[in-house]
Every structure is written in C-alpha cells, then in structure tokens.
C-alpha cells in the first residue's frame, strides 16, 4: 500500500490517473447517449475504423491519434449522411467498419514501424500518456461536455423519440450528426488509454451499470461518470499491485460493478413492484358531467 502511495507522487502516475479520470468523465457523458440510443455497435465500429487513421498517421510519420480523429469524424459524417437517407446507424457502421479497418491494414503493410504502434493502438497504454496526450484529452473532454451541455435537451429528446422530436421543432439530423461526431472523437482519444479493443467497454459498461439502478436520467448520467472513475482507479490499483495491464483491469472492474448492479437492480425492481401493489392503481378517473 505504501508503495502505491509513493508511486502516486510520481509524474507519470499522476498523468495516468488524470487521464483515467478524464476518460471516465468522457465515457460517462457520451456512454449515456450510446446506451440510451443503443449505439454500442457504432462505438465498437468507430474504435476499429479508427485503425485507418492510425495507419495514415504511422505512414506519414505524424500523430496517429490526430489522424484517427480526422478519419473517425469522416466515418461519422458518412454514417450521418447514410442515416439521412433512412439507413439505420448499425447498418451504416456495418459498411464503414470493415472498409475503414481493411484500409488501415493495407496502409500499415507499407510501414515498417506498424507492429509496435498497432499493439499500443489495440490495447492502449495509460502509463505511457504524455503531457501532450493529456492536453488533448482535457481539451476534448471540455469541448464534448460543452456541446452536450448546450444541446442536452435536444439530444435527450432525439435519443428518446426522433419522430416526436422532429414534430416539436427539434432539428433531428444535426443532433444525430453531433452525437456521432462526439462519439467518434471520444472513442479515438480514449483509445490511447484503454486501446481500441476495450474502448467500447468504457463507454457502454458504466452507463449500462447505472441503467440497472436508476429510472432518472440525472442519476444515470452522473452515476455513469462515477462508475467510470471507480473502474479506472480500481483498475489502476489492481494493475499496480498485480502487475497486469491497466486498461483490461479497469474494464474488468467496470464489468464486476455491472454484475453487482444487475443483482441490485432486480431487487430494486421487485421492491418497486411490491410498493405499487400496496399503493393500488394510479389516478382513478371520475366521469365528467355530460354536456347539454
């Protein structure tokens, strides 16, 4: 324990922890919508499609994450364009995901340095987070929280019921595009920490955990961030003590929390049902006097 506390005073550990907390905040905010809109496959697809951008970055000797962000935004906009023509997001992702990934593999075969970068891309490396990575993560977290904060009610309405949102005057297509772009950027900057294989877990598992426990969006949103932070910190402690990879350890902690929440959720639901039986039927209607 003392070793762990001593490690906390070192710069690279502090950077890693801060990066983990930022990923938890991002994952909680964006994952809230990913789970509500049932876009988990979209998140998985974007994380794999980002390989195309990583490959271009490696090939040109520039920032793979920078290229991956641009590449993923292009994929998200392409999906939004297909969605506007009536295609479901999952189907659109099914087209872009293998195409972008295949493109990445082909491009990487031209680069000698690809193997090392590929491993980091696949499984992430929270302990290797640099100051620059942290600034990027911080900036993206700030921008995503601002965008979601400004358009919160519109994004929530579109996630709940697109047709009625349209009827109430909400611009549905731009909101859908905002969600896809925000998801794409979040997935890519999170790859550095947990890797593309596990990134979707940091988006989906915390929000799914809270959906078992609460019927209020406020609880689900804030709780998702909390579950993410506990998972990252718990994963970090496990990783330090047992010398295992941090990203997978964080995902395992998050999955454990989900299992506990599922059990608690069932108990809560049973209790709610029992209470509603005791309370009786809601709001009986009394007939109105007939006109005339």
């Amino acid at each position: 324990m003392q070793e762990l506390l001593a490690a906390l005073s070192t710069g690279w550990v502090q950077r890693a922890l801060l990066a983990g907390v930022l990923v938890a905040v991002l994952g909680g905010v964006v994952g809230f919508y990913v789970v509500l809109r049932r876009m988990a496959f979209v998140a998985v697809g974007i994380s794999h499609a980002a390989l195309g951008g990583v490959a271009l970055g490696v090939l040109f000797g520039q920032s793979p994450i920078g290229w991956a962000i641009v590449f993923s935004i292009v994929v998200a906009l392409g999906m939004a364009a297909l969605g506007k023509q009536g295609m479901h997001e999952d189907t659109a992702m099914g087209i872009f995901f293998p195409a972008a990934m295949a493109f990445g593999v082909v491009v990487m075969s031209f680069s000698a340095a690809w193997q090392r970068d590929l491993m980091s891309y696949l499984f992430g490396n929270i302990l290797g987070v640099s100051g620059g990575d942290l600034y990027l993560l911080g900036a993206v977290t700030l921008i995503v929280c601002l965008v979601v904060g400004v358009f919160f009610k519109e994004l929530l309405f579109v996630s709940f019921d697109e047709e009625s949102a349209h009827a109430s005057g909400v611009p549905v297509a731009p909101m859908r595009t905002i969600l896809l772009v925000v998801t794409a950027v979040t997935v890519v900057v999170t790859i550095k920490v947990v890797g593309s294989v596990l990134v979707s877990a940091m988006l989906v598992v915390p929000a799914a955990t809270m959906s078992q426990l609460t019927g209020r969006w406020q609880g689900m949103l804030l709780g998702s961030i909390g579950v993410g932070i506990v998972a990252v910190l718990g994963g970090f402690a496990l990783s330090y003590q047992h010398n295992v990879a941090t990203g997978p350890a964080a995902v395992l902690v998050a999955t454990g929390l989900f299992a506990v929440a599922s059990l608690l959720g069932r108990l809560l639901e049973r209790q709610r049902r029992a209470e509603s039986v005791v309370e009786g039927p809601v709001a009986p209607v009394t007939p109105l006097p007939r006109a005339g």
């Binding site: 309405f157 109430s168 005057g169």
Partner: protein, 242 residues
C-alpha cells in the same frame, strides 16, 4: 370564412412504386376538429407524416399554417401524438421530463426551460387528470397511461395544429371520454385545430366537426352523423358510403 390551417390540394404519394394516396383534397380551418377515418393501410398515417413534413408529396401541394409543413413544425406550431411506440419504453425519464420535451421547440435550440415552461407542464397534466404525476417514472406506466402523457406533451407545446394518430388506443372508456372533452375545451380556448385518427368512431362522431374518410387513396368528406351510421352498417366500419 375561417382561415385555412391545413390545405391538401390533390395530394398524391407513393412508397417507391406503390401508390398510397391518389388524390387527397381537404382543408381544415382554424379551430376545426376533423376526424380522419379509413381502414388500416389506407394512408391515414401517411397523411399525418405529410403534414409533419416527414414525407414530401409526389404530386399536389400540402400547406400548413400558410407555409410548408416543415416550416410550421420548426416553429413548434404542430403538436403530434404518434400512433406507434417510436420511443424506448424503458428510457430513464419521469412524466415531467417527457411532457417538458414538448416545449423544446418553444424554448429554443440550446436554451433552458424556464419557470413558465414548467408551469405549462403542471397545468397540462392537471387538465388531463394527471395532476401530481410529474415525478412518476414514465417506464412504469401502462401503455394507455403513457399515451396520455404523450398527449400531454403535445398539448404542453401549445400548438396551433394538433395531429393525433390513434392517440386514444389503450385508454379506458371513461378516460377516453374525458380526453376528448378536454381537447374540445382546449380548442375552444386557443382556437386549436385538431386532426385525429381513431378507430373509436362512436366517440369520435360525438366530438368532431367533420370527418374525412380515405378510400382507395382518395378522400371523401363525411358528416359525423354518417360516420356514426357507418358503425352499424354491415360493411367494415370505415369503408365509407356504399
């Protein structure tokens, strides 16, 4: 002559190569309550979607509140209660959250709801006999109760035109009657125009000013009493005059 809120001028529409509407022509004036009737699959919901600007007619013209349907919808002037459940039933929302969503267009893009919006929510729920429901979980309500909340959402929007696509499905007789009486009261107060699709022809006939039947993709004007008569006819209830 009252101001026309909706004008459908020889509207035609096809899904791909399948024609659904072959010439629908009708007008709805301010404060008028119109029942839209016809057999399943005759294009009633398609008419609603045209009035919402979700579809474009393949021929003819649709005008809502003096302009395009899309412009009226974007101003928040058109309230809508959908037929099918286009929403996720388990969404983590309270009844108050759902009804407040109806105010989204009025509140404005990126703006926050103010006290006035919350007051409209409370007032609308009370009018529909749902006072005190704001904190209830939407997911925990029955299908009929959820439809009532969706109607409250559309009314809280304070629209000038209300489109109801089988909004009374799942409601018991007493509640259905109360809803239609309250709708009539709201339309008198606000000069609200209403177009309602319903299979409850007996009740609909007592509240609408006029009825419009769709048959073979064309529209036929019906007086409410004829509509009432159709219920007792040996033909399928909504097939129109023989």
């Amino acid at each position: 002559m009252s101001e026309a809120v909706v004008v459908c001028d020889n509207v035609q529409f096809a899904y791909g190569l399948t024609p659904v509407l072959r010439g629908v022509h009708f007008e709805v004036s301010r404060g008028q309550f119109v029942g839209l009737i016809g057999p399943n699959g005759c294009g009633k919901s398609t008419v609603m979607r045209l009035l919402l600007g979700l579809l474009e007619p393949t021929a003819g013209q649709v005008s809502v509140l003096g302009g395009s349907a899309l412009a009226a919808v974007r101003r928040g002037d058109v309230g809508y209660v959908p037929q099918r459940e286009t929403f996720q039933r388990s969404f983590p929302l309270t009844v108050g959250d759902v009804v407040l969503m109806g105010r989204a267009g009025r509140i404005g893009l990126g703006q926050r709801a103010c006290r006035h919006d919350h007051e409209r929510v409370t007032e609308t729920l009370e009018r529909l006999g749902l006072g005190g429901w704001e904190t209830r979980r939407f997911a925990a309500l029955s299908g009929g109760q959820q439809r009532l909340v969706l109607l409250a959402r559309a009314l809280a929007q304070q629209p000038r035109l209300l489109l109801m696509d089988e909004a009374d499905t799942g409601l018991d007789e007493l509640r259905r009657e109360r809803v239609y009486r309250e709708l009539n009261r709201v339309r008198e107060e606000r000069d609200l125009s209403i177009i309602a699709i319903s299979h409850q022809l007996d009740l609909l006939a007592t509240v609408v000013d006029t009825a419009l039947a769709l048959r073979d993709g064309r529209s036929l004007d019906w007086c409410p009493s004829c509509m009432h008569h159709a219920i007792d006819s040996p033909q399928p209830a909504h097939l129109g005059p023989a």
